[in-house]
Subunit: 152 residues, 2 copies
């Protein structure tokens, strides 16, 4: 089980791609003056659409107090919008502003720019082979048990 060459290769690729992406996103974060937590929140808010303060905190693994304060800073920077939920006025709906969306797009581009570069060095037949494999992975990974989002 430990000697599965498939697992070894997939881990190697994951390691390499993550190293590239992480370096790029860290550089971008520094460039635009946001912390990784900030970017993580922005990415999460985009991915799940509108949500509440506590939920953002749960995803980041922090208390609702911490989330509230961080979101407050993001509101001040005009990156997110915090509006009252008409159905339950205890809840604040968190959403990205236009500027927030721009940061998100730029962040994605910064993080994955190396992939564009990589693609230029590949022939069409190589791309075919790779796509076949990736589609299998993408299909199967969606069936994985969803990791639980816990607060300690």
């Amino acid at each position: 089980m430990k000697a599965d060459p498939f697992v070894y290769t997939l881990k190697e690729w994951t390691e390499v791609s993550m190293r590239h992406s992480m370096r790029n996103i860290l550089h971008y974060a520094r460039e635009c003056g946001l912390s990784m937590s900030n970017l993580g929140a922005i990415f999460h808010i985009h991915r799940i659409g509108s949500c509440g303060v506590t939920e953002v905190g749960a995803h980041l693994g922090v208390t609702s107090a911490a989330a509230s304060q961080m979101l407050d800073r993001l509101v001040q920077q005009d990156l997110i919008l915090r509006t009252e939920d008409p159905d339950d006025r205890r809840v604040k709906q968190i959403a990205l502003t236009e500027k927030g969306h721009r940061i998100l797009e730029e962040g994605l581009h910064a993080r994955q720019g190396w992939i564009d570069e990589l693609a230029q060095n590949l022939s069409d037949s190589e791309k075919e082979t790779i796509i076949s494999g990736l589609n299998i992975l993408i299909d199967k990974v969606s069936h994985l048990a969803l990791p639980i989002e816990v607060r300690s």
Copy 2:
């Protein structure tokens, strides 16, 4: 160029795999009381072997003062060793302790554990297809221009 389905698919997979890995490593960091910077330093030290304080800082994108302080905390936690370089006594050689190696191994395992799980849902022929693609990627990515490690 923007509509290259290959780029789209590869980016999608990178996004998904990074989300899994990041969640797991964040959870692990929290669990063992280390920051992501700490883990990043440990990973880097392991990857390039022994190195100096300033170099670690450069990789993390911080000043040598910041690196010195962070490494100091890691020394106190018995995660790294800081010894004088006999060839140039200005330099301190940074290396992982046994405990540091253990944290590294556990971190890798935590981060990539989902890959083991994923592998169980794949047939041998599917694995073959995927490996073929990954090997192309791994080969080509090594030819990418190395991102410059800069200090602003």
